[in-house]
């Protein structure tokens, strides 16, 4: 019999640690990641030709975390069959996982499967959000981290949570002018009540807090106005973004008349939190629940990352936002559980080996649970989506069309999607399903949209060229 095999999807902090842990515990590990280099969303690495840019004081903690993560991964990398540039596009069962790269595809078998696919950004549409020059806050970061390029010269940011602040500070350091950061609520205020009750969590979060403080200082020094309790009303411009209009809101997200302000900008960046990449877990049959703050439709998992499907584990932010530090610890915990399952059908077998990571994860989780409150969107935020606003960018479906469908009785997410085609385009609904769910009314968020084989953009030629599994992970 071949060695027990753990397949890990995603080489972000969670997947890297899960792979390293399972390899350490004696499993054959295949680590499949569609990115060309490991590191995931947060530690996006520039290609070697661009690496080595100076690291600012504010950016240093993240660089240090990254170094520790890569050191730990490197120790076991020899025992990991890492497949960059490869995506998992279908799961027909744990014994039939379809992976594909540019030219070929393979069905691989897993004794335990760890889904560590992370998440992507959520943006609440406003009029003008499809104009060129409107991007996500993470896009600014991705361009800078991955290519050492800044998206524009005058960059305005708006949204929820800490990401717009961090990205704004990074843009300032990269030489941009930031006319405004408009946040729905202050990201720091929801933190305190929870943290003051839990000193250990406060301690665990001290690094993130001081890092946040340093980023805020960067903004302060540059004189960037940070306006909280403000909502973006629109982006406008002649063929591309030229200005962002914001207003104070009444606590529910409705603009207070007379408080509108306009800011000239060639680039406008939004972030309203995140959506977990849970399609693979759902395709494999995992139960989900809806959590609006931490990433939408989240696979239900226990402390080991085990889902409702035996042998299927979820690690890191794919299980709901908890940040890069928690993701790495979680990966180590889930990697141990997956190894225990793969080798002995006992997820608890190696629990002791991951005790330290588990304890550290608990502290990060408490901290992050408090932080997650800053992503709670004001209740009426979607009132600002005007009838003519495009909600589904791929298929060009407007709010008016969606409202009509809901009025016709199509108020479940899957039915609404089929009726309007919103969510059926090239992005697979990643840009609009959260909005669609919110507009659908009470039923919308209850059901996740069906996840069908083919979630990644693989060419038919690669699918047709199926090679046998023998070379994988042995």
């Amino acid at each position: 019999m071949s060695r027990a095999r753990v397949v890990v999807v995603g080489a972000g902090p969670a997947g890297m640690m899960a792979a390293a842990q399972a390899a350490r515990l004696g499993c054959a590990v295949v680590l499949v990641d569609e990115a060309p280099r490991p590191g995931g969303q947060i530690h996006r690495q520039p290609p070697p030709s661009l690496a080595g840019g100076a690291v600012s004081a504010a950016a240093r903690p993240e660089a240090e975390r990254k170094r520790r993560l890569f050191d730990r991964f490197a120790r076991h990398a020899g025992a990991i069959d890492h497949r960059p540039g490869t995506s998992v596009t279908a799961i027909y069962g744990l014994d039939r996982i379809l992976i594909a790269d540019e030219t070929s595809s393979r069905l691989i078998r897993a004794d335990a499967l760890v889904v560590a696919t992370g998440l992507h950004e959520r943006v609440v549409p406003v009029p003008g959000w499809t104009l060129p020059g409107v991007v996500t806050a993470g896009a600014l970061q991705a361009l800078l981290k991955g290519g050492r390029v800044r998206a524009g010269d005058r960059i305005a940011l708006a949204g929820a949570g800490p990401l717009p602040l961090v990205a704004a500070a990074q843009m300032v350091e990269a030489g941009a002018t930031v006319p405004v950061v408009a946040l729905l609520r202050p990201p720091w205020s929801p933190l305190w009540p929870g943290l003051l009750r839990d000193p250990a969590a406060l301690w665990a979060g001290r690094g993130v807090l001081s890092e946040g403080w340093r980023w805020l200082s960067v903004l302060r020094r540059a004189g960037v106005p940070v306006l909280t309790r403000h909502v973006a009303l629109s982006v406008s411009g002649d063929g591309a973004a030229e200005r962002l209009v914001i207003a104070r809101h009444d606590g529910r997200g409705r603009p207070v008349p007379g408080t509108e302000r306009r800011f000239a900008a060639d680039t406008v960046a939004f972030n309203h939190g995140f959506t977990a990449n849970s399609e693979l877990a759902r395709m494999a049959g995992a139960e989900t629940r809806f959590d609006p703050r931490r990433g939408g439709w989240l696979p239900v998992r226990d402390g080991d990352g085990a889902t409702s499907v035996p042998g299927l584990f979820v690690a890191g932010d794919a299980g709901g936002f908890a940040g890069g530090l928690a993701a790495a610890c979680d990966g180590a915990v889930v990697g141990a559980a997956a190894a225990g399952w793969a080798l002995h059908r006992d997820a608890g077998r190696f629990a002791a080996q991951a005790a330290a990571d588990r304890a550290e994860r608990a502290r990060h989780w408490t901290f992050q649970a408090a932080l997650a409150a800053s992503w709670e969107l004001p209740r009426d935020i979607h009132e600002l989506v005007t009838p003519a606003t495009v909600v589904c960018r791929c298929e060009g479906v407007t709010r008016a069309r969606i409202d009509r469908a809901v009025a016709d009785g199509h108020d479940g997410l899957n039915g609404l999607k089929r009726n309007t085609r919103a969510g059926m385009g090239s992005c697979g609904g990643r840009s609009c399903l959260r909005t669609l769910a919110a507009l659908a009314g009470p039923r919308g968020e209850g059901e996740a949209v069906n996840a069908r084989p083919g979630i990644r953009p693989v060419t038919l030629a690669a699918l047709a060229n199926r090679v046998s599994d023998e070379s994988v992970g042995s």
Binding site: L107, A405, G412, G415, N419, G428, G454, I455, L460, N465
Partner: protein, 384 residues
């Protein structure tokens, strides 16, 4: 959800293309009767939402030809007939059926002869003519084909939405998320039970396609239908690569580049057993992607958008089953695996029948009684 009515003149079970069309026509014919439509899923939750979006009159059995021929004007004038200005994305670039070998060509020849008896403007093509119509196709091994310019591709979602809205406007009470558990005769009428609630209906139309036996089997009504799991996938929107829809029996495949540019590939597998498990199988992509590329080489660089499985309703003669059952007042509307293209006429004529009006002979022959009559059935040969 609003509560269900306890009573209706006519209940239609199933809100796919067949159920919606028949319900809509019932109210159009009889605005004085209450029509209640119950569907267990959301909008387009079953086969109509999974179909290949093709329309063709080019069949080899009279029943199919007539149903499609009678449906065509409704699709050509959908916006006016059903008050649906959005349109149904009817890309009427024809349907090209390829013959790989003389035997297949002979069959197409016979089909065309039959089609022409009903005035269908289809014709036999040489390979060169086929190549001119669809220059991107790999025609090696092809000896000819048949073509009809009025066939084409249209959006099942738009069609269903159009039916849905027209039905609601006509006064059909539509309830999604209601699964009917049983139908029983009940003092000269019927009693439906759905989630513990009872509904009394004077007449009932069962339009649940392959799932009809689940409801009628216990009444001793035998509708011979079996589910056959079929699979499909769709590419990202592409620049124009294919005008007509294409059927290739040799590839067990149907290709359709829709008005939006995506190519829908329906890939059958003759070796696959009948059964109701419609989950896509792991062999779909290597098998079907390779065949699709062989047929239309430009598909090699196209990216997959999603895939799905659905059920064909296989009847002994591959024709629809439309008519009254042995229990007076109980009707079936069963698509015979081409219910999307036939829905306008099937619904309209069945509604007439339910209302006690006369229907054409050819339609009357689609009644379920044909299976018990002992007569020889006219079989459809032109299924992929």
């Amino acid at each position: 959800m609003t509560t269900l009515p306890r009573i209706a003149d006519i209940a239609v079970i199933g809100g796919g293309a067949y159920g919606l069309s028949v319900a809509l026509w019932l109210r159009r014919l009889r605005p004085d009767l209450s029509v209640l439509l119950l569907d267990r899923s959301d909008f387009a939750g079953n086969e109509t939402g999974r179909c290949g979006a093709g329309f063709r009159v080019q069949w080899g059995a009279a029943g199919n030809i007539r149903l499609c021929q009678d449906s065509l004007p409704s699709y050509e004038n959908f916006a006016e007939e059903f008050g649906y200005p959005e349109g149904i994305e009817f890309k009427q670039d024809g349907y090209l059926i390829l013959a790989h070998g003389e035997e297949q060509l002979d069959q197409l020849r016979r089909n065309i002869a039959l089609q022409s008896r009903f005035g269908v403007d289809s014709s036999l093509l040489t390979v060169e003519e086929a190549a001119r119509l669809a220059p991107g196709l790999n025609l090696s091994g092809v000896v000819g084909g048949s073509f009809c310019a009025r066939d084409g591709s249209l959006s099942p979602f738009r069609v269903l939405d159009g039916f849905h809205r027209a039905a609601a406007r006509a006064g059909v009470l539509i309830r999604h998320g209601v699964k009917v558990d049983s139908v029983e005769p009940f003092s000269s009428a019927f009693r439906l039970s759905a989630g513990g609630e009872a509904i009394e209906a004077g007449r009932v139309v069962v339009a649940t396609d392959t799932r009809i036996p689940q409801l009628l089997g216990s009444l001793g009504i035998d509708i011979p239908v079996q589910p056959y799991p079929n699979q499909a996938f769709v590419t990202e929107p592409l620049p124009p690569r294919l005008g007509p829809c294409v059927v290739s029996f040799a590839h067990e495949m149907f290709l359709n580049q829709t008005a939006r540019g995506s190519v829908v590939v329906v890939a059958s597998d003759r070796r696959r057993a009948l059964g109701a498990d419609a989950q896509p199988t792991a062999d779909l992509f290597p098998r079907a992607a390779a065949r699709a590329i062989d047929l239309l080489p430009a598909l090699g660089t196209a990216r997959l958008l999603r895939s799905w499985g659905g059920l064909y309703s296989i009847t002994p003669d591959m024709l629809a089953v439309l008519g009254e059952t042995a229990l007076p007042g109980l009707f079936v509307a069963l698509s015979g695996a081409k219910g999307f293209m036939t829905a306008p006429a099937a619904g309209r004529l069945l509604a007439q029948l339910v209302d006690g009006q006369a229907v054409p002979d050819w339609f009357a022959r689609l009644s379920p009684a044909r299976f018990a009559s002992g007569e020889e059935l006219e079989k459809e040969p032109a299924i992929v």
